[in-house]
Amino acid sequence: MRALVIDDSRAMRRIVGSILEGFGYETRPAGHGREALDVLEEGWVPDLACIDWNMPVMDGLQFVSAVRANPAWRQVTLMMVTTESEHGQIVRALAAGAHEYVIKPFTADAIGDKLALLGLLPHGVPA
């Protein structure tokens, strides 16, 4: 399974990427939404995208809207991974098309629980 990790922090891309690789994912990083769209447009369409909200160039919400506007990317599961924890922001992200929402700071177990909920844990990997 493939995951795109979108965050303007290199440290956070590394942390999320490493957790997902532990669950058996092949990952690719992107520093903002526009860079992530470039990855999709070149044909590397992931099963999962983990998306930070506040990023330069193109933020996470704009990225979610752009992905949802393209039927070719309908199978991509979108999971916000962000410090934005206000109820109104969560509702906005879900309304735009995000499937799940993880608030930073998080643990590897929290990510595993969300993947299990989404049916995105590769077979044989305990949550």
Partner: protein, 160 residues
Amino acid sequence: MSAPIATLLDDETVNAVAAEVWSALVGEDEVLVPGDGPVADGRSAWVGVEGPWSGLVVLTCSASATDDLTRAVLQLAPAEELADEDVDDVLRELANILGGNVKSLLPGPSTLGLPQTGTPPQPGTDVRPVGATWRGHPLTITVQGATEAPVHHPTTEVTP
């Protein structure tokens, strides 16, 4: 104008937020001990909050703390060389997560800016500095209200 930060947050709450961030990001067994600080000549990262309460959440660490923090967060071996941009990135992300979690305790709705490093704006009178110690290094988390001074935006001058 919103209530002063001292009436919205106490030291204990800021310390609890910081302890949770440390445990998740720096390491499960990493203990942040309340007290000590302030850091005189530290490196800072901060993030802005805009809403009913507007201001900054600033994290300031000593140089030795920032190096150890970066190694811990990125899980680098002691022999691995540290890049300056990694140190700034880790500080920024810590400030970002601290800021987001502090924001969730303040009156909303509000928005969070992008984190920055460098010399943070001087606090005014609405300020709550909270000191802590990690692995013997002092650090400070400062929640400071926006100052009244107008922000200068450079503009192109138009002459008649």
